[in-house]
Amino acid sequence: MARFVIRRLITMVLMLIVISFVTFLLFIVALPGGNPAALIAGRLATPAEVHLISVRYGFDKPIWVQYVRTMANLFDGSAYSYQEGFNVMGAITRGAPATLSLSIGAGVFWLLSSIGLGTLAAVRSGRYTDRVLTVLSMVGVSMPPFLLGAVLIYYVSYKAGVLPINGYISFTVSPWQWFRHLIGPWITLSVLFIGFYSRVLRGSILDAQGEDYVRTARAKGLSERRVLVRHILRMSLLPIISLWGLDIAQVIGGGAILTESVWGLHGIGQLAFNAIGAFDTVTLLAIVLLTAICVVVMSALVDILYAVLDPRIRLG
């Protein structure tokens, strides 16, 4: 088991190095917008000024030196946006609370709801409850977040006045307001995932129902509840947990752009959205790296969790 974990963590680090280098090449060196020194110097700069900036920022150095410098700058918080001049790390840190609140809250919500609904649908498979849930999950899966967000804002927030219309209130300022402001975004972000995950779980529970060891468990005289929880769910949860790991990583890394913009949360997704519009490559590089780190770390965690849950994988 220890060997498995160590190997998995080593691969994780190697993957991060490769990903960061490739993104660096894509965004900074092969910069589609032109010479970064010229971008920093502005439109009116003379060639001498551009050259000066180029030397100062190290754009004349070999690629690997630039790579190490850029990475160092990103991680110690001294990277600045070429166009806007703001501190990239600062911008991300400012957006982080909103994004983390949104994604972790929504992540827990959609995971628990889909486990509940998926299990219910599987247990009642073929009956009325299952059919209703099937239809609902189809609706959920095909509901775009901007539409759902808009609908919620108009009817629940604006017409009924039950929820705030938009914005983010820090938890430290008022836990209750923080919660109230996030209910809408959480629902908006979760519905699609709940629809999808509960279908996947229903399928994997139904598959597991046919397993020989489940028949053995019943033959032992165990209660249906115990058969379900101990012998079916443990294996059936694996696929949705691995989906969850990757999805939550994406959302933390700024993937909930639509939900953040509809509800005006000014999180990392919003930052990414603005950076794309402004062609702000340094910020984009930082956000892509953040996503990559989240995805790689989560998938390592998921793999390790798999090994904990299924002893056959531990052989590594």
Partner: protein, 362 residues
């Protein structure tokens, strides 16, 4: 039926396997994997099949019978040794060189369900090999019908999908597909073990007929000795990658020399209550040991009740007795003093085997 005293190996055999070894590396390591040990799947096996002959290969799981078949059709690369088909060395032949051999050497699998593409109709399943054989398009349909008739199916089955057939019928389709290439040799990997009893007999009868009519040779792999008795001319018993005994079929049952062969025979109940009650059976204890880095000496020694010190240290050579009956055992059973005196070391013996031939027990 094979003549007694069949040449053990050499020119003339349709398929000859010489000291074939297939080892699979076992890798381990914290960061970089290196080979720490090897699975001895097929370990210095020599066999041959003559034209029109059926060689039965019998053994329990882990004996290497499936690896052997896969190595013969080159699905797995041999670690060392040679495979000759019609005196052509195919061990390292290129794809192009293999092409004509592939045609003449076909395979039928254990699970007919898994070996037929579920999305193709029988017509397409048969047309592919027929086209490969170079048959003009116009004749393919007629030839497909002829093949189906040959294996006891009806021409209207051509338009159906594999799932519309029963297990036995699917196995017939598998056989028809093999026949489409007009092979000389068919490798049968447990062709009836997945089928119901009443269907097994049908398929065995079909294989019998085809062999007779088309002059085919078979390599028939099975996990127990009851099915192969009916179909084989000679039978090889394998255990943990080695040939333990190789004998004309009938003699293996009346005069088993290797204790492992005896154990296999004893283990099978006879479908006759009175015979069964009369029989004195010895149930062999223990399980097949791991094929990873197996010990020196005889592979069966750890479970053998006749085993002595020499069995645990020196690998017994394949010894040739009368009637071309070979056994790799230091303490062969059912062998007379005269037969022992006349015994010679077979050239098929593994190279790692000792020189000393078995002597009469004191």
């Amino acid at each position: 039926m094979s003549e007694s005293g069949l040449p053990e190996q050499g020119p003339g055999a349709l398929l000859a396997v010489d000291h074939l070894r297939v080892l699979f590396p076992v890798k381990a390591g914290l960061i970089i994997d290196r080979t720490v040990s090897r699975v001895h799947a097929v370990d210095d096996v020599s066999l041959s099949i003559g034209t029109g002959e059926t060689l039965g290969v019998v053994g329990e799981s882990g004996c290497g019978k499936t690896t052997l078949i896969r190595a013969l059709v080159r699905l797995i690369k041999a670690t060392s040794g040679q495979i000759h088909f019609r005196d052509l060395d195919i061990t390292a032949a290129s794809r192009r060189q293999l092409l004509p051999v592939r045609r003449e050497m076909q395979m039928v699998f254990q699970d007919p369900q898994a070996s037929l593409n579920p999305r193709k109709r029988i017509r397409q399943i048969l047309a592919t090999p027929l086209a490969l054989r170079g048959l003009p398009r116009a004749e393919i349909e007629a030839e497909s019908r002829r093949l189906l008739d040959r294996v006891g199916l009806r021409p209207e089955h051509l338009g159906r999908f594999p799932h519309e057939f029963s297990g036995g019928q699917r196995q017939r389709i598998g056989i028809a597909r093999a026949l489409a290439m007009q092979p000389k040799l068919i490798l049968l990997d447990e062709p009836v073990s997945a089928l119901d009893v009443s269907i097994q007999a049908q398929v065995i009868n079909l294989l019998d007929d085809l062999k007779e009519d088309l002059g085919l040779s078979y390599l028939f792999v099975a996990h127990d000795l009851s099915v192969v008795r009916h179909v084989s001319d000679r039978i090889a018993v394998m255990y943990l990658g080695k040939v333990m005994e190789l004998s004309p079929a009938a003699e293996l049952y009346t005069k088993p020399m290797h204790p492992y062969t005896q154990a296999l025979l004893d283990a099978i109940p006879i479908p006759d209550p009175a015979e069964n009650r009369k029989r004195v059976r010895t149930v062999v204890t223990g399980e097949v040991p791991s094929p990873i880095d197996p010990p020196d000496g005889c592979r069966f020694a750890s479970r053998c009740r006749h085993a002595s010190d020499i069995c645990r240290t020196v690998e017994p050579p394949l010894t040739r007795y009368a009637n071309g009956h070979l056994a790799a055992c230091h303490h062969p059973q059912n062998v007379s003093a005269a037969e022992l005196a006349a015994a010679v070391r077979s050239p098929l013996s593994p190279t790692s085997a000792g020189e000393q031939l078995p002597t009469l027990a004191a």
